[in-house]
């Protein structure tokens, strides 16, 4: 018996065994894959968890960040017109901005001015199938997130290109991220590379790797805002507005 031109004899199995044993002596880096998820020695230039004053950085999969020359946004799945956007194309979409608070599931929160386009801009161009009720995002750092289409057309959900009057930084998701202010921070995916419309729901990264729900709606409870010295303040659930935050009209 042969598989891929190789005889399935004792020699074949011995060589297979020795090859797999040898592979354990090489780090994943030797094969061009960097996975620092369980590694404390993350290179300094990598995007990684950092408690920066004013706005903490969280990264599930540390990586170098996106080179925009090799980046594009693919929108596909159950749509009439699949589209691939280059970075410049996104600036041709109707722009809007808002101030909103990003509330991390770990307790802290921080505000910023976010600028970008509504998800409806994407819908109008790709024309999803009537049965495409779910949307699946993938990112350049192997992260993934899952939403219902209904959630993405809520008024304050924004596809973000700029933060505080500057292009998104590497730490905050350059070139494109999502801001859904009524969802915990882990739902606000960064470095988006693809958007897929589907008729069934997929799981997200943190429901597969930790004790966090796929839904991720901010629950009533307590927040520790970084702009309030992390002092505890109660929150009602949904988008977080503290007494010192300006609510949208």
């Amino acid at each position: 018996m042969k598989i891929l031109g190789q005889k399935l004899n004792r020699r074949f199995f011995l060589s297979l065994f020795s090859l797999s044993a040898l592979s354990t002596f090489f780090s994943k880096k030797a094969f061009g894959v960097s996975d620092y998820r369980r590694d404390k020695n993350i290179p300094k230039q990598y995007v990684q968890n950092r408690d920066r004053p004013g706005f903490f950085i969280r990264s599930a999969n540390p990586f170098m960040g996106v080179d925009v020359n090799g980046w594009s946004l693919s929108v596909r799945g159950m749509v009439k017109n699949p589209i691939t956007f280059e970075y410049e194309d996104l600036f041709g979409l109707k722009k809007t901005s808002q101030i909103s608070r990003l509330k991390c599931v770990e307790c802290w929160s921080a505000t910023a001015q976010w600028e970008g386009f509504r998800f409806q801009e994407v819908i109008d161009r790709v024309q999803p199938d009537i049965n495409a009720k779910y949307v699946y995002f993938q990112s350049a750092d192997s992260y993934y997130e899952s939403y219902t289409l209904k959630e993405l057309v809520r008024p304050r959900v924004l596809m973000v290109l700029r933060m505080n009057d500057k292009p998104l930084s590497k730490d905050h998701g350059f070139p494109l991220r999502l801001i859904a202010p009524f969802k915990y921070g882990y739902k606000n995916i960064k470095y988006i590379t693809s958007i897929e419309f589907a008729d069934s729901r997929k799981r997200n990264y943190w429901s597969n790797h930790g004790p966090y729900s796929v839904d991720g709606t901010i629950q009533p409870g307590t927040d520790h805002p970084l702009d309030f010295k992390k002092k505890p303040l109660s929150i009602n659930g949904g988008e977080v507005f503290h007494p010192f935050d300006k609510r949208p009209l």
Binding site: Y184, T217, P220, G221
Partner: protein, 241 residues
């Protein structure tokens, strides 16, 4: 023989000491009043509303109320879909509380059913009875889902051990519930007096710690809000059908 009796009495003791059972108030329903199926008769009389440690509540004031009827369970997804056929849900979750409904949709359902949303006072009396208890079931429990972040609703009739002294389910857990009152406290600016509706009786969460809310705990929400953690139940006067 002695050993046999010891075993018998021990078993009897264990079975009669069910700590999860909530003592129920014996209520005499006046002649001429028919309580519709799925509702509970709450008698007239005094009850303690709010708590002195919570300044946005009635701070422990004694309130006298007429008798009324309230739904024993939160309105389910299956029930709501009869009112609104566009409301879709997983068939295995028909007994789960309806959620993602605005105040207006909740009010519309109750009206369609010949009822109304409970007032905040009606809701609180149904949850705590006349003895001013903090938890509907009187004794403190840890929430069993601690360690998970997210909302896990349950079937509306699944927690017999967490009923109120009148036998009303889901008043300190499962979904928060719309009530008819606007949220007003001593600190509410006049311009906001009709901005938020009160929601009652859900869970709070901080990272992976889930907590029950006390019977007097008030939360507020803009009436157009619709989230997975907000549902409702209906109430009516004693003569409704």
């Amino acid at each position: 023989m002695r050993r046999f009796l010891f075993v018998v009495f021990s078993l009897l003791f264990i079975f009669t000491c069910n700590k999860d059972e909530v003592d129920q108030i014996e209520v005499n329903i006046p002649i001429g009043i028919t309580v519709p199926e799925g509702m509970v008769y709450i008698p007239d009389g005094d009850f303690i509303m709010g708590h002195s440690d919570y300044p946005d509540t009635e701070k422990g004031k004694v309130i006298n109320m007429e008798a009324f009827l309230i739904d024993r369970f939160e309105v389910t997804r299956g029930q709501f879909s009869i009112f609104n056929p566009d409301y879709s849900f997983h068939p295995q979750k028909a007994r789960f509380p309806v959620s993602m409904v605005t105040f207006e949709q909740a009010q519309g359902y109750c009206k369609w059913n010949g009822r109304r949303l409970p007032t905040e006072a009606e809701w609180e009396k149904s949850a705590r009875g006349p003895d001013g208890r903090k938890w509907p079931w009187k004794i403190y429990h840890e929430h069993p889902n601690n360690g998970f972040s997210g909302f896990l609703p349950e079937a509306v009739d699944s927690r017999e051990e967490w009923v109120s002294p009148y036998g009303v389910y889901g008043m300190g857990h499962n979904v928060w519930e719309w009530v008819s009152d606007w949220y007003i406290s001593d600190k509410t600016p006049k311009a906001d007096s009709k901005r938020y509706k009160v929601i009652r009786g859900g869970l709070t969460q901080t990272h992976t710690a889930i907590k029950f809310t006390p019977t007097y705990f008030r939360n507020k929400m803009e009436p157009t809000a619709h989230f997975n953690f907000i549902g409702f139940r209906c109430a009516c006067s004693v003569d409704c059908r």
